[in-house]
């Protein structure tokens, strides 16, 4: 998946074979994607063949497939293919660095399980005014892209408002001058190629007007 247009393409899906016939299965939207991811995680954590077989049946049933007469090997192959299909398919910059509050062991008192996903719904609904079912009907990468754009917009809106107040100006008591201090960016918004300028001692600088080569 290369970009936004691929992320919203309606043709996402694949063919599987059940009961000896080819069946086209569409990729899961966000709501179903989250459910299937939980089921797949339980599959990895389970240890007995019985529990794994029940989980595979559950997974395929959630994908609305008729497995009543499918052979065992067809079900296994379908599970493998669909699990791969419903993986995360795009590298969204916002998700490269998972926020600390998702991984932190010391959770705040208002934390609950799967709160991370509830914040997704909350952010998108607050911004766009969409209903929960509409949001859960988005493609997973599409939802992540919208969330990233929401966060980018929020950052710049906050920065603009902050720039109008004295909070963003740092007063230096020695020089009696104020210096604008931009709002710190989250790690995924920082361009890694342009690092901090290397500071050189003024005594080592050449004589004359030094023009930085940028």
């Amino acid at each position: 998946m290369d970009g936004y247009l691929d992320a919203i393409d309606d043709r996402q899906g694949c063919d599987i074979v059940l009961n000896g016939e080819k069946v086209y299965v569409k990729r899961a939207r966000l709501g179903l994607h989250l459910q299937l991811a939980r089921i797949a995680e339980k599959f990895d954590e389970s240890v007995t063949a019985y529990s794994k077989s029940k989980i595979i049946e559950n997974y395929l049933s959630r994908c609305k497939l008729d497995i009543s007469e499918a052979s065992a090997i067809e079900m296994v192959e379908a599970f493998i293919v669909l699990r791969h299909l419903n993986l995360w398919q795009m590298d969204v910059p916002w998700l490269r660095i998972i926020p600390d509050n998702v991984l932190a062991t010391g959770q705040p008192p208002y934390h609950y399980d799967q709160r991370w996903w509830a914040t997704w719904i909350h952010e998108i609904a607050s911004r766009y005014g969409w209903e929960r079912d509409t949001i859960l009907d988005l493609w997973p990468e599409e939802a992540a892209i919208y969330l990233q754009e929401i966060q980018v917009s929020q950052y710049f809106e906050t920065e603009n408002q902050r720039a109008l107040s004295e909070v963003s100006y740092e007063y230096n008591k020695t020089t009696h001058m104020s210096r604008f201090k931009p709002m710190p960016k989250p790690p995924w918004m920082i361009d890694e190629s342009t690092g901090e300028p290397i500071k050189i001692n003024t005594k080592l600088l050449p004589v004359g007007n030094v023009v930085p080569m940028q």
Binding site: F43, A49, S53, S71, E77
Partner: protein
Amino acid sequence: MWPLKPKPKRVVFGGESFEITPLNLKQTIELMLVLAPHLALIENYMPEIKQALAAKNGGNNRPELLRTIFLAMREDMRTLPGDMTKALSILCGVDDPVWLAKNAKPQEFIAALSVLDEVHDFGRLWQGIRGLGVSVGYRV
């Protein structure tokens, strides 16, 4: 005229005849869990295994090829009798792998290979084991 019911496939171990039926999902997963740790060992013979698994069922060479492979693997399989006997018991629908280990003869096993392959399709089973092993590594 009603279509004739296909004759059940049978194999003989220790003088007893066993009907070979397709595995259900639990048995398939059990077989995969038993064989998956030995994937790397068996894949040492990859060129021959690939050739055998790629051969069509109608190909006359396939049973012979499987027989050759398992004979060649005999030395390696000496060190893991438990898992291979367990796998064989699952494939044959025998509840007691210990009985099979005590009573089955190697010639019977070789003779049963083609029947087991016809019912269970070793090629698809093998791809399933590899795919399931890879899919377990998926983590968001």
